[in-house]
């Protein structure tokens, strides 16, 4: 009981610092894990586009355009993570 009591007191004492630290860890987790999905997704889109171009070289321009649009849409979640991470860093001060 004493240990819990002192832990609660310590958390109350350092609450602003813990809040800032949590915002910074959250920013790191947000950008780090947010980068996994877009990276794999964009690579998958471009890889399949390369495969398609090697199979049907005459459709190059259309495949290339589709690849770019698909990658741009995949990128959006990465940009959301970036924005949230920047907001969280601003929150930490």
């Amino acid at each position: 009981m004493d240990a819990t009591q002192s832990l609660v007191e310590a958390i109350e004492k350092f609450a602003p610092a813990i809040k800032s630290a949590a915002a910074l860890v959250g920013a790191g987790i947000c950008m780090g894990f947010g980068a996994i999905g877009p990276g794999v997704g964009e690579g998958f889109a471009a890889g399949k586009a390369c495969e398609g171009i090697s199979r049907r070289p005459e459709e190059y321009s259309q495949l290339f355009r589709t690849m770019l649009i698909g990658q741009a849409v995949s990128e959006s979640t990465g940009i959301y993570s970036l924005v949230i991470a920047l907001l969280l860093i601003g929150k930490a001060g």
Binding site: F14, P16, A17, I18, S20, A21, A22, A23, L24, V25, G26, A27, G28, I29, M31, G32, F33, G34, A35, I36, G37, P38, G39, V40, G41, E42, G43, F44, A45, A46, G47, K48, A49, C50, E51, I53, S54, R55, P57, Y60, L63, F64, M67, L68, Q71, E75, G78, I79, S81, L82, A85, L86, I89, A92
Partner: protein, 251 residues
């Protein structure tokens, strides 16, 4: 707590080498899968495939060598006398250095295996195109190591640049600095996984395309470069965010 930073350095060394070896093991094994399939298809190209397999395995072990270097450095730090051994921020910086390179090496190792398997099968399928495929393989292998290099740089920064002046901090500053260091390492480490696998996937398909239609190689190379560069963007965001967080240590 006494000597918490020394303990964290040993823990970080364990994370660095333990997690860092997973991806490379998978990648090096996949190079052998590609070579074995290729040899079954083209027994006459036995020697060329074996040579290419060894090159691919050398690239695949690259990520785990980075992790090993950081692991050894952290192990030496853990055994030595530190500036601020009882500082929470110092401990978080060492743990985070290990996590950054440990998680960051996962993607590059796996990606290296993807490129290795597809390029070896491509060489077996079309032995005349060996030089074109090898060139594409070198570019793809080198490119999918870049996220791991970023993670290595962030680990070195965490160990040697960030880890100063922690003995003069107050308790509040210590807690914030600990969060900052931990966020930096996790951000760069996890941010390196996805882009490395993505770049390697593009490179693998480009290696296969290099055999199919040599007269359209220029188009395949274009889409490889553009596609891989766009994949790389998210790891650059992660690097920017961790460097921004590092800038906060100056305050």
């Amino acid at each position: 707590m006494k000597d918490i930073a020394n303990m964290a350095a040993f823990l970080g060394a364990g994370f660095a080498v333990g997690l860092g070896a997973i991806g490379s093991g998978w990648g090096i094994g996949n190079a052998v899968v590609g070579a074995a399939r290729g040899m079954a298809k083209q027994p006459s190209r036995n020697f060329a495939l074996f040579r290419s397999m060894l090159i691919n395995q050398a690239f695949g072990s690259n990520a785990s060598i980075f992790a090993l270097v950081i692991g050894i450095l952290l192990w030496l730090k853990g055994g030595s006398k530190l500036d601020a051994p009882d500082s929470l921020a110092q401990a978080a910086a060492y743990l985070s250095a290990g996590l950054s390179i440990g998680i960051g090496a996962l993607g590059s190792g796996i990606g290296s295996g993807l490129v290795a398997q597809d390029s070896l099968e491509a060489i077996a399928r079309c032995p005349k195109a060996e030089s074109r495929v090898s060139l594409m393989m070198f570019i793809a292998q080198a490119w999918c190591q870049t996220p791991c290099v970023f993670a290595f740089v962030v680990s070195i920064l965490l160990m040697y640049v960030v880890g100063n002046n922690f003995n003069v901090l107050t308790d509040e500053q210590n807690i914030v600095a600990a969060g900052r260091a931990l966020g930096m390492g996790i951000c760069m480490g996890a941010g390196a996984i996805g882009p490395a696998i993505g770049i390697a996937f593009v490179g693998a398909k480009a290696c296969q395309g290099a055999t199919n239609s040599p007269e359209h190689l220029q188009n395949i190379r274009n889409s490889f470069f553009v596609g891989a560069a766009v994949s790389e963007s998210t790891t650059v965001y992660a690097l920017v965010i961790s460097l921004l967080m590092m800038g906060g240590f100056a305050d």
